[in-house]
């Protein structure tokens, strides 16, 4: 069954054509990697899927339904969760509250319901569980403003997981983690995928990506230039051109 379907999506910012006629689908239960040099349009594509940006042309379908005009919050309630490449924690809250608020999505999706609920214990417990899953156990009561980037990246993932998504799109969640931490985080994602969660992982860490994902998509200059098994895609000359030709970029990411 097709969980996510992106159809001839294009968008332009002033003089920059950020995406040109992008098409792809993700089936239920897949683990897809999305790569491409800096500026390829990966984050823009994520924002269009999440409804943060509206494409100039094309459509986005979730579980067979056209959501191109739907606001972000409604898409999230349909089972889509995302993480931000540039972390966006709620700065006035603790790590636990950041995640608990996400876990309370059923309550917060209607403000009137929210006005008549005040107990948080259930959501806090669920939040603690998610924090432990991404390796933030013990940091529940920290102010997020005091956390290093690596931990904020993990918080993004915990917050997204607390939404009970059916598909999660992660924008460079391994950046800021060291070798071992990245490996553990990728394993966590692989385990979640084994439990049935559909995952799209945007990453520059090719080592982990090739290890855990079963399919790779490659964006370059706003166009989808490859789609297939990781080994196959990595040996594609066009991909090598896009990537190796811009090796400096890639290292800088």
């Amino acid at each position: 069954m097709t969980t996510l379907h992106v159809e001839s999506v294009s968008i332009r910012f002033g003089g920059v054509q950020a995406l040109t006629d992008v098409n792809f689908s993700v089936q239920k239960g897949e683990f897809v990697g999305l790569i491409g040099p800096n500026g390829a349009g990966k984050t823009t594509l994520l924002k269009i899927i999440a409804g943060i940006l509206t494409p100039d042309t094309g459509r986005v379908m979730l579980e067979g339904e056209d959501v191109t005009r739907l606001p972000t919050a409604k898409r999230v309630r349909k089972g889509l969760a995302i993480t931000h490449q540039i972390v966006r924690p709620f700065r006035s809250m603790t790590t636990l509250d950041n995640t608990a608020l996400a876990a309370g999505y059923k309550i917060t999706s209607n403000p009137l319901t929210a006005a008549f609920h005040w107990r948080r214990s259930q959501q806090s417990a669920r939040a603690a569980e998610m924090l432990a899953k991404v390796g933030l156990a013990g940091l529940e009561d920290r102010d997020v403003s005091a956390l290093p980037l690596g931990n904020l990246k993990r918080l993004e993932v915990a917050r997204a997981l607390a939404l009970d998504p059916s598909i999660i799109i992660l924008d460079e969640p391994l950046a800021g983690l060291n070798h071992r931490e990245a490996e553990r985080q990728a394993d966590t994602l692989a385990a979640l995928n084994a439990e049935g969660l559909t995952i799209v992982l945007i990453e520059h860490n090719l080592r982990e990506l090739v290890r855990v994902s079963k399919r790779l998509l490659v964006l370059d200059g706003g166009k989808m230039i490859a789609d297939g098994e990781p080994e196959h895609v990595m040996s594609d000359p066009a991909v090598r051109e896009a990537y190796v030709g811009k090796a400096d970029d890639h290292a800088a990411a």
Partner: protein, 282 residues
């Protein structure tokens, strides 16, 4: 107690209602409004018309709250869906539009306002008690909302709208709700003011009043109900205690706003938190 004391208590209660309701909008939900005085004025005029037409006090107060909240809903609806900074600009506009509109309306008494408003029948003491009870209820509402999931979500919206959307919070609805609740309370305060003075003029509801209310919220500490209550009390009583302050009121408000933002953007509440933190460490 003297008549002066009752009138001071009444003004204090009204200012507490106005400041805490503005804090609900700006402090809890991160939406900056510089038109709170206009919603207060709309409530005052609506209640005055009801009172003059002979309706009983509760009806006039209710109508004041409804008119304030309805106007708030319309203004909020026009700006909240749009870009983040639009609300500040439209609310400043509402300040000018409200006074500009009322001044030209014969049926609202134009420049001369509405006088000979019937008394509430409670006397100065009863009025003051009624106003203080409403002020206490407003504080209680704010404290409750801040603890509920509604306040929890408001805080997320105030922190980062886009992040709030990505955890399924319908941001615009929340912003609109905060704005409507806050402006309805302002409208109610307007109704209370009508019965307190029995005489209203357009110049009581200008941009300067809105800025003064914002000063109370910011000096108290955005988002802190108790901080804002304390700031409202200080900023209401100080000019009464020292006459010279009244002559230089705006100079002082302006200067204090700058200094607070420059050196203690958390306001009184922020200072209190950092002091207790330091004490705990010592």
């Amino acid at each position: 107690m003297t008549l002066y004391a009752y009138s001071l208590l009444s003004i204090l209660g009204i200012n507490i209602m106005l400041a805490t309701s503005l804090n609900l909008i700006s402090g809890f939900c991160g939406q900056f409004s510089l038109g709170h005085g206009a919603f207060y004025g709309a409530g005052a005029y609506a209640a005055a018309l009801c009172a003059v037409a002979g309706y009983p006090v509760p009806v006039a107060l209710l109508v004041g709250a409804l008119v304030g909240g309805a106007l708030g809903f319309v203004v909020g609806f026009a700006s909240v869906r749009l870009r983040e900074d639009f609300l500040v600009v439209t609310t400043i506009g509402v300040s000018f539009l409200f006074v500009g509109f009322v001044r030209k309306q014969k049926w609202l008494g134009a420049e001369m306002g509405i006088s000979k408003i019937p008394a509430s029948g409670l006397g100065p003491e009863g009025n003051a008690i009624m106003i203080l009870l409403f002020a206490a209820a407003t504080i209680a509402l704010c404290l409750y909302l801040n603890r509920s999931w509604l306040g929890f979500a408001f805080r997320a919206v105030g922190d980062d709208e886009q992040a709030a959307r990505t955890i399924a919070i319908p941001v615009s609805t929340y912003k609109l709700l905060a704005f409507t609740i806050g402006t309805a309370v302002a409208g109610l305060a307007g109704g209370l003011y009508t019965y307190f003075t029995q005489f209203i003029v357009p110049d009581s509801f200008t941009f300067i009043l809105s800025v003064t209310l914002m000063a109370m919220v910011v000096i108290g500490g955005l988002g802190s109900t108790w901080g804002v209550v304390i700031a409202a009390i200080i900023l209401t009583l100080l000019p009464e205690a020292f006459r010279f302050i009244n002559d230089y009121r705006l100079l002082i408000y302006g200067g204090v706003l700058m200094l607070v933002m420059r050196f203690a953007p958390g306001g009184l509440a922020g200072i209190a938190t950092s002091v207790t933190r330091r004490l705990r460490k010592a």
